[in-house]
Symmetry: D2
Subunit: 173 residues, 4 copies
C-alpha cells in the first residue's frame, strides 16, 4: 500500500527539515512538510503553554498538550483525505511521543524514520544556524530515540540531507 | 453553543491577519490562526500548482485544489477535536469558496466574518507592506465578497484592527 | 540642494517602516531603508549588549553604543558616496539621540521627519502585529520626540502611511 | 595588526553564512555579519536593478552597481570607525570583484577567506534549503574563485562550518 505519511524524528539540529525539503523535491507527488514548530507558530506567543528551561530543555504545559492532541487529529485527517504529509517532530518523550502519533495516525500507511546526528556535530550546526538559545541539540540528541521503533534510520553526521532523503524515498511504497 | 471556528474573509491587504492576531490576544482561550498562505508555505515552492498573473490575479490549478480539499478536511477535524480555529482566507470564488468551507465545516459552530476595506486604502497598505507584486488589493477588494453571507462585517478603512476584533469577539458564543 | 538622507523618528508601532516602504515606492531614485533593528540583526544575538526591561523599555549597554557609533559613521559615508538613505529610528534619548545623528550626518542634506501616533492607537497596532513583548508602543510614544526638531511632522493616527509619505516626498529637495 | 575585516567569498550554498555565524559566536569581540543579500533587502524590490536568468545566473544592472559602490564605501567606513565586520559575498566577477573590495577596504587589515564546496554537494544543500530557484550553487561554485587571492581557504564539502570557522579564527590577528 502506498505510503501516506512520513514521520521524521530527531533532535534539534539533527537535519530533519533539510531532509523534509529534499523529500518534497525528489518525490513526484506534492507532499506537505509539517514541522514541529508550526503549531507553536500558529498560536499567540503568550498563550502557547510552552517554556524553555535554562539548559535548553522544552517544558510543555497541559494547555499545549490539549491543543496538540486536536492538531494531531487534524493532521491525520488531512492524510486520510488524500494529502501526502511529512511530519517533522522531536519525540521529547521518546516511545510515549511515538505512541501519541501511532494513535492519531491509526489506519494510515506510515513510514517511521529516525534521524540521528552525533551530538557534537549537531551542537556545531546549532551554532552555525545562529540560534539565540543553544544547548537543545545536545540535550535532545539521544533521548528522542529512546524506545522508538523505525522503518528506516539515517545519520546526517557524515551524510548529506539529499543522500539521506534518497534512502528514505527508496522505502516509499 | 460556543463558537468553534471564526472565518475571516477579505481581499489582500484588507487587514485580516491583524484582526486575527488581535482576536488571539483578546479571546481567553488559545486560538490557532490559520492563514490563506499557510498551505502554500507547507508545499514545495515548485509544486504548489499556484501561479500569479500579470495583474496580480491568482491562478489556482487542479493539483492545488486537490491538496486544498484535504487540508480543509483536516482543519475542520482539528476544530471538531477541540482546537479553536481562526481561518483567514480570500474567497477568490466568492460564494463558491464559502460553499467549500461550509461543506468542510459541517456541524461546527462557525462565525462568518466579512473584512472590508476601501480599495484605494487597501492598495496603499499593500505598498506600505512592501510587497513585490502589487495589484492584488484592488483586484480582490470587491470580488471576494460577491454572494457571501456573513454573521458580522467589519471595515478597516477607518477602524483599527483591535476595534474590529472587539466587535467580532462580542459575537463569539 | 537635493535631499540625501531622510530620518524618520517615532515610537515603536508608530508606522515608520510602512512610511519608509511607501517613500521607496514613490520616490524616483532607489532609496535604502535602514531600520532601527538592522544593526541588532547583524550582531550575534548573545552579543548585542541590548536588553529589554519588564515594561518593554529598551536597555542599551556601552558595548552596543560603541558599535552603533561606528555603524552611524558608515551609514553617513554611504550617503556621502551617493546612496540615498532613509533612516528609521527610535530616539529613546530624545534630543541626545538626534544630536548623535546630527554629528554623524554633518555636511549632508537631511530631512528630519517626526512620526507621531496616538499612544492608544499605537498600542493596538502592536497587538495586531503579534509582538510577543508589548508595552513598547506606549512607553515610547511621547519620550522619543522630547526636544527633537523636525522639518516635517506626520501623524499616522488617522492618516494612512502612503498619504504621510506623499507629504514627506513633497518636501524632498 | 589586528584583523578589522574578514571577507568570505564562495558560491551560493557553499556555507558562508553558517561560517559567519560561527565566527560571531567564537570570536570574543562583537562582529557584524554583512551578507551579500543585505543590500538587496534594503532596496525596494522593484528597484534593485538585479535580475535572475533562466539558469540561475545573476544579472546585475548599472543602477545596482552605483548603489553597491556607495554601500561598499560605507561598510569600509564602519570598519575604519572601529566596527569588526565579516563580509559574506559571492564574487561573480572573480578577480574583478575582489578588486572592488580591495579598493573600498584600502588601509584596513583584511583577512581574505575562500569558501569552497564541491559543486554536487552545494547543489544538494541548495535543495535542502528549499530555494525556489535552483542552479545557482552549480553555476557559481568555480567561477567565483577565478583569479582570487586568499589568506585562508576552507572547504565545507566534508568539514563542518564550526571547524572551518575555527581554522579561520586561528588566523585572526
Amino acid at each position: 500500500m502506498a505510503t501516506q505519511v512520513i514521520v521524521l524524528n530527531g533532535g534539534s539540529s539533527s537535519g530533519k527539515s533539510g531532509i523534509a525539503r529534499c523529500l518534497q523535491a525528489i518525490l513526484p507527488e506534492p507532499w506537505l512538510a509539517i514541522g514541529v514548530d508550526l503549531l507553536i507558530d500558529l498560536m499567540h506567543p503568550a498563550k502557547t503553554g510552552i517554556d524553555f528551561g535554562p539548559d535548553g530543555e522544552v517544558i510543555v504545559g497541559p494547555r499545549f498538550r490539549a491543543v496538540e492532541a486536536a492538531w494531531m487529529t487534524g493532521v491525520a485527517a488531512m492524510a486520510r483525505a488524500g494529502a501526502h504529509v511529512i511530519i517533522d517532530d522531536v519525540f521529547l518523550g521518546g516511545a510515549a511521543s511515538q505512541r501519541r502519533w501511532l494513535d492519531a495516525l491509526a489506519g494510515l500507511e506510515v513510514l517511521w524514520v529516525g534521524v540521528r546526528c552525533a551530538s557534537a556535530v549537531a551542537a556545531g550546526r546549532e551554532i552555525a544556524r545562529g540560534d539565540r538559545d543553544s544547548g537543545m541539540a545536545v540535550a535532545q540528541a539521544e533521548v528522542v530515540h529512546q524506545g522508538v521503533t523505525y522503518d528506516v534510520e539515517v545519520d546526517t553526521t557524515h551524510t548529506e540531507s539529499l543522500v539521506c532523503a534518497r534512502s528514505i524515498a527508496a522505502r516509499i511504497g
